[in-house]
């Protein structure tokens, strides 16, 4: 391999690393890597020496910024798209860029592309620097850039940035509930991806002195995607292995093409397709080999602390709430008040509007809701999920950047996480694979995520669902403990025994209106409630 080949492979690796940030770290299926490469390569060729005549460094910088802008715009455009439609949109984008390059040969040079004899020297008068751009220098620069990106990924993964990426990847819905600005994080991720890939494209043009549409074709987009998928989810070495395999692909394809007397591009296509299929088939087994450990034994149930908080201050109040879904009236003038330090149960028949009311209340910045269904977030260790809650509850501005630069104030907020784990009796799950927790511990973990946000109002949607009798006892202790700390807990629950044991106050919803509100005993004796629940004969 010549130095040019090595430098080319390293620039490809740089592009794959950039794409891996979006695909394997943030879980966004971006099939349009070639579009960003095109921005970097054609941008540098058109703006720099031989094109608009800008100084080389400025042209590269402008192309990289343009790559970031394109990534940002893609994220804004795809803000309503999740998963497959995003793949479709970016795939169409890669095709469209290719067609545009061919449609305007006057600007982009048609199939032959743009030729830019590479400058032999990079001279900057400001710094008095004179650097000969030999292939060996390219190898050094590309290697340094790759190591820089890998280092940044690894460092970010351990800090708040890693939590953000995990949130985007494992559960954008949950992340939103916990207060993490998912759309903004996606824009940042895609802008970074665009910038890094554009930088790789600029390097490619400077190295070879030439860019052709086939260098940034949809096939290249797919090859980058394969390279990134090969390593599975969120592993820095994935792109490295992937690019190593891709680099070995052309010689094999050429040999194959010679052997069967066929077109080289076609045999590369066949091999890429087979590789992609193989990666899809092998993902499962590789992932299983790298599984996490299970939880340790559960700690003893702590007795509830004696109530110390001053009850009475209202944390959340809504009057006259109306919500309709396509003509179905879900809430018809409901009202509710949640106080500091109280456990307030929200009960009512199915379809009475409990969850809708919870969702309405969750719009309040002081409140955090847990979902009715258990959302496991399988790849995020239990305590990291709680840290995600802490991150959603508010952190420093530019926390990711501070952490990357290792400023003194950049450590993860551990006290909040530990406190939330203790408050929910989950200290034994630290580092555990969430899929291997009991159903009850998974429900409690959802509560712990919400507790870690530090929100003064917790809205829990049927936290006891699927719990055994023992686990219900633990949940009762946890809820009383939270109230004793001064948190207002609003709880949707069907188990009237649990409600009677744990709630200070009960609100009964019926057909979108409040039927009754009072202590559990008052509510139980209320004739209207008895009618709604048991029918007129029994009442």
């Amino acid at each position: 391999m010549s130095a040019v080949d090595i430098a080319q492979a390293l620039y490809l690796l740089l592009a794959a690393l950039g794409l891996s940030l979006a695909v394997s770290w943030a879980g966004l299926p971006v099939l349009g890597g070639g579009a960003f490469l095109a921005v970097g390569a054609y941008g540098t060729a058109l703006l720099g020496p031989g094109g608009a005549g800008w100084p080389l460094g400025l042209a590269v910088l402008a192309s990289v910024l343009l790559g970031a802008v394109v990534g940002f715009v893609v994220a804004v455009g795809a803000s309503r798209l999740d998963g497959p439609p995003l793949a479709l949109a970016t795939w169409a984008l890669a095709r469209m860029v290719q067609r545009l390059l061919l449609a305007y040969p006057g600007t982009f040079g048609g199939v032959d592309g743009l030729t830019r004899p590479a400058p032999a020297h990079l001279v900057t008068r400001t710094f008095g620097l004179d650097l000969a751009l030999t292939p060996v220098v390219h190898v050094g620069v590309a290697l340094a850039l790759c190591l820089l990106v890998i280092g940044a990924l690894l460092r970010a993964a351990r800090g708040p940035g890693g939590l953000d990426l995990a949130a985007l990847r494992e559960g954008p819905e949950i992340a939103r509930m916990l207060g993490i600005p998912v759309a903004r994080r996606r824009r940042t991720v895609l802008a970074a991806t665009g910038a890094v890939i554009a930088l790789a494209g600029a390097g490619h043009v400077l190295l070879l002195g030439l860019v052709e549409p086939s260098d940034v074709s949809p096939l290249v987009s797919l090859q980058l995607f394969v390279a990134v998928l090969l390593g599975g989810t969120a592993r820095w070495w994935g792109p490295v292995v992937g690019v190593a395999v891709l680099t070995a692909l052309p010689p094999v394809a050429d040999a194959l093409a010679r052997a069967v007397d066929a077109d080289v591009e076609r045999s590369r296509g066949v091999l890429t397709a087979l590789l992609l299929l193989a990666v899809v088939v092998l993902r499962g087994p590789v992932g299983r080999r790298l599984a996490r450990p299970g939880p340790g034994p559960a700690p003893a149930v702590r007795p509830p602390d004696p109530g110390v908080a001053a009850a009475g201050d209202t944390v959340l109040v809504r009057h006259d709430v109306h919500v309709r879904y396509d003509g179905v009236v879900a809430l018809d003038g409901a009202h509710i008040e949640l106080c500091k330090g109280e456990v307030h149960a929200l009960i009512g028949p199915n379809g009475s509007g409990k969850t809708t009311l919870l969702k309405e209340l969750a719009k309040d910045p002081h409140a955090v809701r847990t979902p009715q269904q258990t959302v496991v977030m399988p790849r995020l260790a239990a305590d990291r999920q709680v840290a995600l809650g802490a991150r959603g509850g508010g952190g420093r501005r530019l926390a990711v950047l501070r952490h990357l630069l290792a400023t003194p104030s950049s450590r993860l907020d551990d006290p909040r996480v530990r406190a939330a784990l203790q408050a929910t009796g989950l200290t034994h799950v630290t580092g555990a694979d969430p899929q291997r927790l009991t159903a009850g511990d998974q429900r409690l973990l959802q509560v712990a995520r919400a507790v870690a946000t530090g929100a003064p109002a917790l809205l829990l949607d049927e936290p006891a669902a699927g719990m055994t009798a023992d686990e219900r006892t633990r949940l009762r202790a946890v809820l009383r403990h939270l109230a004793a700390r001064g948190t207002g807990v609003l709880l949707v629950e069907h188990d009237m025994r649990l409600v009677g044991e744990v709630a200070d106050r009960v609100t009964v919803l019926h057909q979108g209106r409040v039927l009754a509100c009072g202590t559990p005993d008052q509510v139980r004796r209320d004739p209207a409630v008895r009618t709604a629940y048991l029918g007129t004969l029994a009442g």
Binding site: P29, L31, V76, G77, A78, R80, L81, G83, P84, P85, A87, L88, A89, W91, A92, L93, R95, M96, R99, L100, L102, A103, Y104, P218, L219, L222, F225, V226, L229, V260, A262, D263, E265, R266, S267, R268, G269, V270, T272, A273, L274, L276, L277, V279, V280, R283
Partner: protein, 300 residues
């Protein structure tokens, strides 16, 4: 613009649109039934046509008029190839990964790439003239449709429009009503509940892919004879079909047909105004714009 040119643009657009509608119909059918996007659908269209070419004319095809027997054989092979290829994709790359979007996205993209690459190995030329087994040119003696103002249009344009739209509407009726239509919608709404009612979702998924494949074959038969066809044309054709399906609201068969017609007219208008370079850019821009602004389609 005089009436003749306007008619020319609109009729040519509707004709292209009818073909796009058929491709979009198949896409919408599969997407609506299974929530899986058949990203290789356009490649199935082109691969079906070239399977017919390979079987009837061999590896060095020349444009020629087909006899009655060859024509019938060509039609049967193309429709069958569409059904088989689409069904194979369903079985091999979609069914095992239904719940893993990254899995079936990669699988479907790989399937399309494999089809193109294998066809490219067998047929290395830049473009091929494909014979018209339906002989739509024979609708008029000189093969032309004379429009007011002295403009003309190949008469097969009209044939493609009538046949494509007719089959599209018939397929839509057939797939929305009737027993199969009911199971389709049941599986689309809730596969588990449908399974409890005795509908096998895996079988319905396969049948949806197969039906889409037959429609893809027909779309290929209508579209290919008009111009030189390359084995790579499937990608853009697929994206155009997807644009038609998304335009009409993904999952709506009638919407896909209407979306195809609208897209076809827009495409022809753009070509008339801005040159042939825009032919492929317009549908892609429509698709990207739609996904960004109204992913649920125009009608809803």
């Amino acid at each position: 613009m005089d009436v003749g040119v306007l008619l020319q643009v609109v009729l040519a657009g509707l004709s292209t649109g009818a073909v796009l509608g058929l491709v979009g119909l198949g896409f919408s059918l599969v997407a609506g039934t299974s929530r899986v996007l058949p990203l290789a659908h356009g490649d199935v269209v082109v691969a079906a046509v070239f399977t017919g070419v390979l079987v009837v004319l061999g590896r060095t095809p020349v444009a020629q008029d087909l006899g009655a027997l060859d024509s019938a054989g060509f039609v049967v092979v193309v429709l069958l190839a569409g059904a088989v290829l689409s069904g194979l994709i369903a079985l091999v790359v979609v069914r095992p990964y239904r719940d893993q979007p990254l899995g079936w996205v990669a699988g479907a993209v790989a399937a399309g790439l494999l089809l193109r690459a294998v066809l490219g190995l067998l047929l290395p030329g830049q473009g091929y003239a494909v014979p018209d087994p339906l002989h739509l040119d024979a609708l008029a003696t000189d093969g032309l449709l004379h429009l007011p103002g002295g403009t003309t249009l190949p008469v097969r344009t009209l044939g493609v429009l009538v046949l494509g739209l007719g089959v599209g509407i018939a397929a839509e009726r057939l797939l929305v009503r009737g027993r199969f239509g009911r199971s389709l919608r049941a599986v689309a709404d809730d596969p588990d509940a449908a399974a409890l009612c005795g509908v096998d979702p895996a079988r319905v998924l396969l049948l949806a892919f197969v039906a889409a494949g037959v429609l893809a074959g027909l779309a290929g038969l209508l579209d290919a004879p008009g111009h030189a066809v390359s084995v790579d044309d499937g990608v853009v054709l697929g994206l155009e079909g997807i644009a038609a399906a998304v335009l009409g609201g993904l999952g709506s068969l009638r919407g896909a047909l209407l979306g195809g017609l609208a897209l076809g007219v827009a495409q022809q208008a753009a070509v008339h105004a801005g040159g042939a370079a825009l032919q492929d850019v317009v549908p892609l821009a429509v698709l990207v714009g739609l996904l960004a602004l109204r992913p649920q389609g125009v009608r809803r």
